[in-house]
């Protein structure tokens, strides 16, 4: 191996309502696609795990007929493996069944093999074997608030999991329930929603019950988090003890997406939608907005995006890669996928007319090309 540089390439995974598409590129401009994988199953969650010297793509798969499951591929989609006994299933005695896997989150580089998952019904799961088997997080499942958590329009789910570098602090966001924090690696959980409005409840400032749509951690400032809520964009600088609005300067405070930069402090992206009752880009003009000062100011980014777009972008249908400059990717419910190789300054449509895009993930990998699925 020596000092020879490994050529870099990029993998883009697009989960839709009716299957998964994979793409690879050497330059983030020209993409080669394969798919659909898992035709007629929805793919609401994807994790691309580049730790341990391999690229593992994990997907949450859900068939309307045959239920949910988790599969993984170590050869960029040429073959898929589904653990025989199922990667995620509720243990005996819980009287619950997994409906849908909403999140697959590979943990830090320093904790290879650890993968978190969020699911419906509201539950958090942890794997220590690279996503082949997950254990239910009992602290959250047995939380006394659980019976009071509700369902958003898409279902009641834990959809965001953020773990700090040391692994002690875990933040989970659920719809509806809000943000919950663990300071002991996931053993015990407390709601942390102070400052986040729940205008749709009788008490608009409850301890929990907020409809948070997505949270993300700042890349470089420990304890700084960003949240896109069901109306409201917020930042916390104290590990979610307090949240303050950073919606000033955005065309709307509704939306689903919250992305943060892979390395740079203060940089985050949102994709606003007009309102709860009007879930389209404001004025039908699709734009990404980026802050480079932790929400103090926002820059509208729409170069390369269509003049008119009336489709929403869902909470996990957006991602960044870890390259320099960072790539930004997102897909719409109209089946278009846009990619930027310059942190959002300019976009190009890389796929169109796919089924509704539910999840997008991208990664920098060793030189690789996606190949067509090997038939069974």
């Amino acid at each position: 191996m020596g000092c020879m540089a490994t050529p870099e390439s990029y993998v883009l995974a697009i989960g839709t309502k009716k299957g998964l598409w994979l793409a690879s590129s050497q330059d983030r401009k020209q993409w080669s696609f394969t798919g659909p994988h898992f035709l007629m199953s929805e793919i609401p969650s994807i994790g691309i795990d580049t730790r341990d010297g391999r690229t593992r793509i994990m997907v949450g798969v859900r068939s309307e007929h045959w239920g949910p499951t988790v599969a993984h591929s170590d050869d960029l989609g040429a073959t898929w493996t589904e653990p025989e006994q199922g990667a995620i299933k509720f243990p005996d005695g819980t009287d619950a069944a997994v409906e849908r896997i909403w999140q697959i989150y590979p943990d830090a580089e320093s904790r290879p093999g650890v993968v978190w998952a969020g699911a419906e019904p509201i539950s958090v799961w942890k794997s220590t074997d690279g996503g082949e088997h997950f254990e239910l997080n009992r602290g959250l499942w047995d939380h006394p608030h659980r019976s009071e958590w509700g369902a958003g329009y898409g279902g009641a789910a834990a959809h965001s999991i953020v773990v700090n570098p040391s692994g002690d602090n875990v933040h989970v966001a659920m719809s509806t329930g809000g943000v919950y924090r663990s300071l002991d690696g996931g053993s015990s959980w407390q709601p942390r929603n102070k400052g986040i409005s729940a205008y749709f409840m009788p008490d608009p400032n409850p301890e929990f019950g907020q409809c948070v749509h997505k949270i993300a951690a700042d890349a470089a400032v420990e304890g700084r988090l960003y949240a896109q809520n069901h109306h409201g964009v917020y930042r916390s600088d104290d590990n979610a003890e307090n949240w303050e609005s950073i919606a000033e300067g955005l065309p709307a405070d509704f939306g689903f997406v919250m992305l943060t930069h892979p390395r740079r402090a203060g940089t985050a992206w949102v994709i606003p939608l007009k309102a709860d009752g009007e879930r389209i880009p404001p004025e039908g003009r699709l734009a990404v907005h980026r802050t480079d000062d932790a929400g103090g100011t926002w820059k509208r980014l729409d170069a390369g995006l269509p003049q008119a777009e009336y489709n929403a972008v869902l909470r996990d249908a957006a991602a960044v890669d870890s390259a320099e400059p960072a790539g930004v990717y997102f897909g719409t419910r109209g089946g278009s996928v846009y990619a930027s190789a310059d942190e959002g300054e300019s976009f190009a449509e890389v796929a169109s007319h796919l089924p509704d895009v539910l999840c997008v993930r991208a990664a920098v990998v060793a030189d690789a090309k996606v190949t067509a699925p090997v038939s069974a």
Partner: protein
């Protein structure tokens, strides 16, 4: 001892080693739940496609005994006699 056959839809056959039906030996009558346990014992992925981890039949999986869907009978407790055929058919769902 007679057999009871469970006929699989083509989409599930790859999960049963390519077989179009599975059989369980049965003396007298058994329940549909017992029958599913028996024929999917070697095929855990197939088992999970039909029932969730609580044992409940998935909403859009229909099982017919003598032409009747088991939800209109006694569900998974519906009895099947040796020599009868059980059909698994996915319902019309989705869009």
């Amino acid at each position: 001892m007679a057999d009871i056959s469970v006929v699989l839809p083509s989409v599930l056959q790859p999960l049963a080693g390519g077989q179009s039906f599975l059989t369980a030996p049965a003396d007298g009558t058994v329940t549909v739940g017992w029958l599913l346990d028996s024929v999917t014992g070697d095929y855990p992925v197939l088992a999970r496609r039909l029932r969730d981890e609580t044992g409940a039949l998935r909403r859009y999986v229909n099982i017919y005994v003598n032409g009747d869907e088991v939800r209109r009978l006694q569900g998974l407790d519906t009895e099947v006699a040796a020599g009868q055929e059980v059909l698994i058919i996915q319902s019309v769902a989705g869009g």
